[in-house]
């Protein structure tokens, strides 16, 4: 929760490391001034002092309380300034906010995860959480797509996942470069390789809007029910508190009712893919 009962006041966090993930994506390792807990899939508001604030879902394990990792793509004004920050700087964090992934629902299931681009950030946190309960899971399959091999983030993650029992990870790129010997094509093409036990499977989709749209359509074609598909929605969550109105999507405040929704909850909401 926010400091001193003031919901608008950020908690300071020291930036201790900046990891280059791709030409446009960096991971910021932060040590908050107070212990900070979050549920996987929940988001925080991360601010650059005096510049601005933007919502991100931490990419680190929800079981680590003294350190927080946030993966940021350089997209706009605030993120560009974030990318220039050096270790030692202080950032502000508010949150955690919203409804994350319902990890308890995943017990006993197999989980099919579809990720695209920087959408792998929340998924990495989810994968840590799933690894934590792997004895209670049937299987975890990650299908990840990026534009090119150099846009692929968390490169060591894939070999590590493939070494964990019950975990499988596949990658594809839209456009291959020399030396790439994995799949080429949009992320949904990876689904042809995957065997699922539909009756006991849950799917998670996180990525750019266009990928979320076609990923969901493909999952529905495969036979997934609306309530078996979890979507992590991205809107302009400004306050994170269900008050400022910027993230309203139909009757939902994405910041409070989401950001994780089942497709069943959103199927009648217009413009969800915009």
């Amino acid at each position: 929760m926010s400091a001193g009962g003031n919901i608008y006041k950020p908690l300071k966090a020291k930036l201790v490391e900046v990891i280059d993930e791709s030409p446009l994506i960096k991971t910021f390792v932060l040590i908050p001034e107070k212990e900070f807990s979050f549920g996987t899939g929940q988001f925080i508001e991360l601010s650059v002092d005096g510049i601005g604030e933007a919502p991100f879902t931490p990419s680190s394990s929800p079981h680590v309380k003294d350190k927080l990792e946030v993966t940021v793509m350089k997209t706009g004004y605030v993120t560009e300034i974030m990318h220039n920050l050096k270790p030692g700087a202080y950032m502000g964090i508010r949150g955690p906010y919203g409804r994350g992934y319902p990890v308890e629902v995943f017990h006993g299931k197999e989980v099919l995860i579809l990720g695209g681009g920087c959408g792998l950030a929340p998924i990495r946190s989810l994968l840590y959480a799933l690894e934590h309960i792997k004895d209670n899971l049937d299987k975890v399959v990650l299908c990840y797509g990026s534009k090119t091999p150099s846009d692929c983030i968390y490169k060591p993650l894939f070999s590590r996942l493939n070494s964990i029992e019950k975990f499988e990870a596949y990658r594809t790129v839209d456009k291959a470069e020399e030396g790439w010997n994995e799949s080429v094509g949009v992320v949904t093409t990876l689904l042809n390789k995957v065997k699922v036990n539909l009756g006991n499977s849950l799917a998670v989709v996180c990525g750019p809007p266009i990928m979320m749209k076609f990923g969901t359509i493909r999952l529905l074609e495969m036979g997934y029910r609306d309530d078996q598909i979890y979507l992590s929605m991205e809107k302009n969550m400004s306050c994170g508190l269900g008050k400022c109105g910027h993230c309203m999507m139909g009757e939902f405040f994405v910041c409070k009712d989401g950001p994780v929704f089942t497709y069943n909850e959103l199927r009648n909401t217009p413009d969800i893919w915009k």
């Binding site: 009962g5 003031n6 919901i7 608008y8 006041k9 950020p10 300071k12 601010s47 650059v48 002092d49 005096g50 510049i51 601005g52 604030e53 933007a54 997209t75 706009g76 004004y77 605030v78 993120t79 502000g92 750019p208 809007p209 991205e234 809107k235 302009n236 400004s238 306050c239 508190l241 269900g242 008050k243 400022c244 109105g245 910027h246 993230c247 309203m248 999507m249 139909g250 009757e251 409070k256 413009d271 915009k274």
Partner: protein, 330 residues
């Protein structure tokens, strides 16, 4: 209804006395109409009783246009606001639900709410676009305000709506029970007259629920037609007693400024990646009505349009939402 009474002369003196311990705002008539003024001994006599709503909505007192929300929330002086109409008080119910919710209680809003005594006025008149009754709201308050006041010639009649109102009234030495049956009858008559005036003027206007249904089912054409005169100035949202959207602006030292915002402004929902659900003018225009009549009712118990009509008055494109609803209801 039960009334207490106090002579107007004594009431005015009591207000002057209250100035020692409270900052007081009251609805007063000026050359442009009625609006809130900071009360001082010289304008107490201009407080305008029994009239329709002030130009500014009550929300401004609780949600300032700009506010540093990382500073000290405490009010320097307690406040009394005199002259709020019931439409605005019903709007305040929604603000309470949003800002005093159990998960994220806004201490800046709470501080102002807890330290403000509200004395409402009954409306015995209507302005051109008033339509509170269409949405089930009476032109007088029986809740939310602490006290409700009516002027009957040289007498002020008071209804006590809250315990806090009763305690506040204990500071007044000349308040008595109203024994004059005629005064009560007269006031009741004025209420009925005001209500029928409003009902008569808004015949055929769909009620709040019915408006939600027609808004939800309306096609794109009607939004395009009515938004053709919209210039995205946001006046409708700014003046609205229930529009509360805001923006947080960062200042050095991790300070945050909360500034009122409006979904009518371009870029309101734009994300850094460029996607913008409300990019098109007619979608922004529709959004405000969907929010008030369809989405808010699914989340909150308080009404999200109180029929004050200010958005119609304020629109420089002369867009009248009630004409839109009447066309949809055809």
């Amino acid at each position: 209804m039960q009334y207490l009474s106090i002579k107007k002369e004594e009431w005015d003196k009591a207000i002057e006395q209250l100035l020692l311990s409270y900052t007081i705002f009251a609805a007063a008539e000026n050359e442009f109409g009625i609006d809130y003024e900071v009360v001082n001994p010289s304008n107490i006599s201009r407080i305008s009783y029994n009239k329709a709503k002030p130009a500014t909505s009550l929300k401004t007192f609780f949600l300032p246009v700009r506010e540093n929300v990382t500073s000290d929330p405490s009010l320097k002086r307690k406040r009394v606001i005199i002259g709020a109409p019931n439409c605005d008080l019903q709007g305040l119910r929604l603000l309470d639900e949003i800002y005093l919710d159990k998960d994220f209680n806004d201490i800046f809003y709470r501080e102002k709410r807890e330290n403000t005594i509200l004395i409402s006025f009954d409306c015995f008149e209507k302005q051109e676009y008033c339509h509170c009754t269409a949405y089930g709201i009476k032109p007088w308050a029986e809740e939310v305000s602490d006290l409700a006041a009516v002027r009957l010639e040289e007498l002020i009649l008071l209804r006590v709506n809250t315990q806090r109102g009763q305690e506040f009234l204990n500071q007044f030495s000349h308040v008595q029970s109203l024994m004059d049956e005629n005064a009560v009858t007269e006031t009741d008559k004025s209420h009925i007259q005001a209500e029928s005036l409003l009902v008569g003027a808004n015949k055929g206007l769909p009620d709040y629920m019915a408006t939600g249904i027609i808004v939800k089912n309306a096609g794109e054409d009607i939004w395009k037609k009515y938004s053709a005169r919209c210039v995205s100035c946001g006046a409708c949202a700014t003046i609205c007693p229930t529009c509360t959207c805001f923006l947080l602006i960062d200042k050095p030292g991790f300070e945050k400024i909360k500034q009122m915002d409006a979904c009518q402004y371009p870029g309101f929902q734009r994300v850094a990646g460029g996607e913008d659900t409300l990019h098109d003018l007619h979608n922004r225009f529709r959004n405000r009505y969907m929010c008030k009549y369809v989405w808010k009712p699914e989340k909150f118990s308080a009404i999200a349009c109180t029929g004050c009509g200010r958005c119609i008055e304020a629109c420089i494109g002369k867009i009248n939402k009630n004409e839109l609803f009447l066309e949809l209801a055809k």
